[in-house]
Amino acid sequence: MLLKTNSLRWAGLFAAMLLLLVLMSFSIVYGYTDTTWKMALEAFTQFDGTNEHIIIQSVRLPRALIAAAVGASLAIAGVLLQTLTKNPLAAPEIFGINAGAGFAVVITVTLFSISNLQVFTWVSFLGAAVSFIFVYIIGSIGREGLTPMKLTLAGAAMSAMFASMTQGFLVINETALEQVLFWLAGSVSGRKLDTLAAVFPYLLAGWIFSLIIAGKLNVLSMGEDVAKGLGLKTGLLKLGAGIVIVLLSGGAVAVAGPIGFLGIVIPHLTRAVVGIDHRWVIPYAGLFGGMLLLVADIASRYIIMPQEVPVGVMTAVIGTPFFVYIARRGFNQ
């Protein structure tokens, strides 16, 4: 680990927060429309209704906030999942939450002809939660309980199932395809601040609650038997952590659509920096997650300008090599 003493860790935490803010302001200033730092400042202090000011206020600011919040949530959810399942490859999307949310959204569009982004939010929340619970149950039934292999396969299989049903609905209804294709790619752009505001209470609750249970997670990570012996109510803790994961990952997918691999990459990165104490890992992971998604989002604007690469694709491209690396390294180290 990089930061060995607590004072170093406090300093690091402070620096990470600062860096997050810097990246958010970068995200506000840089993009296809030419804006300067001065304009960005003026857009908030003396708004004059010019095109640039409107873009900064209604497009760039929500985008930066959403990227930070979604990134933080996915990363923290990843940490909790990896601890809960003792599986280094666990992450929200492995549980099929992206596919579940996508399927729920497509059902809404095709069967009920609703194409309101606000409704998408709630529906995808629901889809994510259902899929998560389903995969968790399927992955843990049986004698050996929750094994990494069973879990990953159950998740992949549920994803495949949801994906092919999604495809089926989209083939039958072409107009729906047009409406949801952009959502299905996973992106933090084009979302209004209202979308974030709608789920923000859940995300915030998830963040706070995950910090509260951080100490107990340390005990749990010593193993089920040890934790029980030390007087931890493991069943209750697992249930609580499960609810937090659903809140965080469901909320994130509801705002930004399917964004993968963040929940795998960030926890490992964080543990390399601050060690395995969850009281540090969780806040750091949140900050790192926000930073990574902001960077990915800023980069996504410049790669094939003037068009944008959906940020979900960016994270997949960054994350897959990492996933392969961990899968090769094996589970026992």
């Binding site: 490859l89 999307e93 492995i94 399927i138 039934i141 049986g142 004698r143 050996e144 292999m149 990953t152 396969l153 159950a154 992949a156 299989a157 495949a160 199932m161 994906a163 092919s164 049903m165 495809q167 089926g168 989209l170 083939v171 039958i172 072409e174 395809l177 047009e178 294709l181 952009f182 299905l184 790619a185 996973g186 993968g260 691999f261 068009q307 690469v309 959906p310 979900g312 694709v313 997949a316 491209v317 897959t320 996933f323 392969v324 899968a327 090769r328 094996g330």
Partner: protein
């Protein structure tokens, strides 16, 4: 007690045991496949009685019947049969070498590689008016290349003193996710017309098959099915686990590679002409296992036939149920496959 027949050919150089029960099941399945084949050929906008269909097969029948059957329906149904057989056989092989009943071509990403390649093909070889700049006949080649490249990639990334089944499946899942992201990316950038075209392909359909497809697909599939049958005993050994397999004298890694390549070739051919018809590779081997047990020599032909029946039936339903609207066969295989899959997950909870 099971009864076995002993079959020896070429002065004992080739010999194998034939399980009587498996043989009977195989014949019954073959009869069922033939039945579905004939019924499917006779059903459609213009109904032709099964008897007349058979007459046409043997060169008789009226000119009209001959035209409809020979130039419109037959190529499509033959392609459906071949695609189903190839996917099912490949699924059986994969389940054997990965030693997990939930493995299938869709899950370890081989189909995903083909999808990405097809969408890329549609995106890169189109001009501004959405017209393809090269012949659409190259699309199967793109699909095949995508499937083959991904299979190699999965194999080599999973290689570390040999390939362990766990690594193979995990890396397959990881790459499948990447392929899905790339597919979505290209669909978002392409015009919406193309996205829906690509989407139909990804779902899987045998619509628009012609005799040219048949002349490529049939020999390809048959050759690799026979190869798979010859290698069947190695699948049996692989299923025992690496240690035992080595102990009884099998070169585990060599055959694992060989078997993976055979199944990739089968999948590649199938997705090239049928698109990403899902869940067949998962379902068919399980159904076959119920009927003939898990000795692979019997399992392979049985599961191939079941796969063929499944895809032919799905295609038949797809083109008749909502006629004149065509529903891709993949929608139906998924809608049977998905519930079956949940059942499997539950049933294999202690595996």
């Amino acid at each position: 007690m099971k009864k076995y027949y002993n079959l020896r050919l070429f002065g004992d150089r080739i010999s194998f045991l034939v399980n009587r029960k498996a043989l009977i099941t195989f014949l019954l399945l073959a009869a069922a496949a033939a039945g579905v084949f004939v019924i499917s050929t006779g059903t459609g906008e213009m109904k032709i009685s099964p008897l007349k269909v058979v007459q046409v097969f043997f060169g008789g029948g009226s000119d009209m019947d001959r035209l409809v059957i020979q130039s419109f329906r037959l190529p499509r149904i033959i392609v459906a049969l071949m695609v189903g057989m190839a996917l099912a056989a490949a699924g059986g092989i994969l389940q054997g070498i990965i030693r997990n009943p939930l493995a299938s071509p869709d899950i370890i990403g081989i189909t995903g590689g083909a999808s990405a390649a097809v969408v890329a093909f549609l995106a890169f070889f189109s001009d501004k008016n959405n017209a393809l700049t090269v012949s659409i006949n190259w699309m199967p080649l793109a699909a095949f290349a995508g499937a083959a490249i991904l299979a190699f990639l999965v194999y080599f990334l999973a290689y570390k003193d040999g390939v362990s089944p766990v690594r193979l499946v995990l890396i397959g899942i990881g790459l499948a996710a990447l392929m899905k992201a790339l597919t979505t990316l290209m669909m978002v950038f392409g015009p919406i017309y193309q996205a829906s075209q690509a989407n139909i392909w990804i779902t899987g359909t045998v619509y628009g098959s012609n005799w040219d497809n048949v002349t490529i697909l049939v020999p390809w599939t048959i050759v690799f099915l026979i190869l798979a049958f010859v290698l069947a005993r190695n699948v049996n050994i692989q299923e025992l686990g690496d240690d035992i397999a080595k102990g009884v004298g099998s070169t585990v890694q060599k055959y694992r590679f060989l078997l993976l390549m055979v199944s990739t070739a089968l999948i590649g051919g199938a997705v090239a002409f049928g698109g990403g018809i899902g869940f067949v590779g998962l379902m068919a081997p399980h159904m076959a296992r119920r009927l003939v047990g898990s000795a692979f020599g019997a399992l392979l032909p049985a599961s191939a036939l079941i796969g063929g029946i499944l895809v032919m039936a799905a295609d038949l339903i797809g083109r008749t149920l909502f006629s004149p609207l065509e529903i891709p066969a993949g929608v139906f295989t998924a809608s049977i496959g998905a519930p079956y899959f949940i059942y499997l997950l539950f049933k294999t909870r202690n595996a």
